[in-house]
């Protein structure tokens, strides 16, 4: 089959590799019908996530048709159309039983690596480094899905693939970000980053009762999209704009009740801080560039809540923890507990409350994917979301 392989920092290639086979009793093999490139794939592309090996198949947002099931998978059969969550969960351990699906104990074969870095291992992810399990991802024609009996969401309506594909990661991730932000009716919510997760967080914040959403980014097309969802926008790169002042101005000096960092470890700023973090990460003195995290801690109101769906990987420098303590804020974060959100959010799509296809800017083939990783990284061609048809021969 064809698959997109990570071949080193800033290098991905579409290669012919072996087809996946059933390896465990709860596995299924999926013929992938649609897959997408995630913003977090750029952290892999840019070499920020350790424990990648040359030859790793990328991709954790995908859906398809069940081709074959292992002998313990009784709730799926060949031909079922399913969306697969990017986290792999066993459904039986303490954490899965508590609905903390992304903290699953039993799916990471390399748990010892994550224990060394984080103290404990969370669930495995598809196509996201060997520390996170080393499972082959879904930017490919076929994929092996472990614990398919637990994760797979059956699509029994005739909704097109593109409307449900983002249930595999970014819609639940944006939704959990809004839930973690502890939004009360009438709250003002500030959201850093208007990429796919940020856009879903904006939509979800309104679903959860926000009176006002303030969205922060620098790309005009992303800010346009945020305004079309009803958010006020702040372009932080405009001359004389200070995000902290803007958020005070827009909230009567009080600050937003809730802050959402939908950017994560590769934040960008046009100031000294950006140079500082670039130098420190280059020298391995820190691993992440936490500019948004610093700003969000400063900006959120006293006693407010900071929700962090943006990915952080390692050690952060100059995080104003005194401000976090001094204002008595709450912080909530982590990989999305996918299995908890997929079904309710599918119902919202079925009821027509949201049509996730608004996000898609590019529809491509697997062969075009390596070039699109660069365009996605450089934010060219007004890219907002890239969807791949792994069976298409040329651009649709």
């Amino acid at each position: 089959m064809k698959a997109l392989c990570w071949m080193g920092k800033s290098k991905v290639e579409t290669l012919n590799v072996a087809d996946p086979t059933l390896l465990n009793p709860h596995d299924a093999i999926l013929k992938i019908t649609r897959t997408a490139i995630c913003g977090s794939d750029l952290h892999l592309f840019d070499g920020f996530i350790p424990t990648m090996e040359s030859g790793d198949i990328l991709g954790h947002e995908f859906m398809g048709v069940v081709e074959e099931v292992g002998k313990e998978v009784t709730n799926l059969k060949r031909g079922d159309r399913v969306v697969i969550p990017f986290t792999i969960s066993c459904g039986r351990c303490f954490f899965c039983r508590q609905q903390m699906w992304s903290a699953c104990d039993n799916t990471n074969p390399n748990a010892h690596l994550m224990e060394a870095m984080y103290g404990y291992s969370g669930s495995a992810l598809f196509g996201y480094s060997h520390m996170m399990g080393g499972y082959a991802g879904g930017q490919a024609q076929y994929v092996r899905v472990p614990f398919a009996n637990v994760g797979a969401l059956k699509i029994e309506s005739d909704l097109p693939d593109e409307k449900v594909l983002f249930l595999s990661d970014i819609f639940p991730t944006g939704y959990m970000a809004a839930e973690n932000a502890n939004i009360h009716e009438g709250d003002t919510v500030a959201i850093w980053g208007c990429g796919p997760v940020g856009q879903f967080a904006i939509a979800s914040a309104f679903m959860r009762g926000a009176a006002r959403v303030i969205a922060i980014d620098r790309f005009p097309e992303r800010l346009d999209m945020a305004r079309s969802l009803g958010a006020i926008t702040v372009d932080y790169t405009q001359e004389d704009v200070s995000v902290l002042t803007a958020l005070k101005d827009l909230t009567g000096g009080m600050g937003p009740d809730c802050a959402i960092d939908a950017v994560g470890l590769e934040s960008h700023f046009n100031d000294m801080q950006h140079i500082y973090d670039k130098v420190k990460t280059a020298l391995f003195l820190e691993t992440d560039r936490p500019g948004v995290l610093r700003q969000a801690i400063m900006a959120v109101r006293k006693g407010g809540t900071l929700s962090i769906p943006g990915v952080y990987g390692g050690l952060l420098d100059k995080v104003p923890f005194g401000a976090a303590f001094g204002k008595g804020i709450q912080m909530r974060m982590g990989q999305t507990h996918m299995h908890k959100y997929m079904k309710p959010l599918l119902e919202r799509i079925e009821k027509g409350q949201i049509d996730p296809t608004f996000l898609i800017s590019h529809r491509i083939t697997l062969d075009e994917a390596p070039k699109m990783y660069e365009i996605w990284r450089d934010k060219k061609e007004k890219v907002s979301k890239i969807v791949i048809d792994p069976w298409a021969a040329k651009a649709a």
């Binding site: 009793p25 030859g55 390399n110 082959a136």
Partner: protein, 216 residues
């Protein structure tokens, strides 16, 4: 707390054994240090099953190759058990074990009596606080010093890590009926760096088969 963990080491006549000894009189006790030509490992897992169910799987010798790394066969040999291990470098090593303590649903203790391995160990099964399943604790001692352990780490498998991973496999097997694995999945060319990394991450050690084991 179960009485088992309050036992003082060496209270029973087990000259090469310590008790798992995490607690004594309400105090946490550190694991034994590696010295005098001995290597120790203590590891623990909380499992969503009853102590008796955990004990029964652990006690089932025929099933050991399903969840322990590199173990090909365990068979009864008189009062003892005979163990066959296939190491990474293709060597077969074998030994006999004597089961010294056997308390159903609570505890087992063993030591080797003959063969290529020199180790002794104890496993304790106790109800987790707050009715959250079973805490399984293993304390194992290998009769080898740091040099041999280093050589094992480079050429085959660090015995401490093997025990830690086996307890992890046991938990996954107990809770889900399978052991998570990635061997056999497709990938592109690994190249030199990928191969070195896979080795460094321990991916060259075969994952035990879990339920999918083919009859041999």
């Amino acid at each position: 707390m179960a009485d088992a963990l309050k036992e003082t080491p060496h209270r029973e006549d087990l000259p090469r054994m310590g008790s798992a000894g995490i607690l004594r009189d309400g105090r946490y006790m550190a694991p034994p240090a590696d010295k005098d030509g001995k290597t120790w490992v203590r590891t623990t897992a909380q499992i969503q099953a009853s102590p008796l169910d955990c004990y029964e799987l652990w006690r089932n010798y025929a099933a050991v190759p399903l969840w322990q790394e590199q173990i090909k066969e365990v068979r009864l040999k008189g009062k003892n058990s005979h163990w066959v291990m296939q190491t990474r470098n293709g060597k077969t090593i074998e030994w006999d074990e004597e089961l010294m303590q056997d308390e159903p649903g609570k505890r087992m203790a063993w030591r080797t009596v003959d063969g290529d391995s020199y180790n002794a160990g104890e496993v304790i099964f106790e109800q987790a606080p707050g009715d959250r399943g079973t805490i399984v604790t293993v304390l194992q001692e290998f009769g080898q010093g740091r040099l041999k352990t280093l050589a094992d780490s480079l050429l085959n498998r660090n015995p401490k890590q093997a025990v830690i991973e086996n307890v992890r496999h046991f938990k996954a097997f107990m809770e889900t009926g399978e052991i998570p694995r990635t061997e056999g999945q497709p990938h592109g060319p690994r190249g030199v760096s990928g191969t070195i990394k896979a080795e460094a991450y321990g991916e060259h050690i075969d994952t035990p088969p879990g339920l999918e084991r083919k009859a041999s």
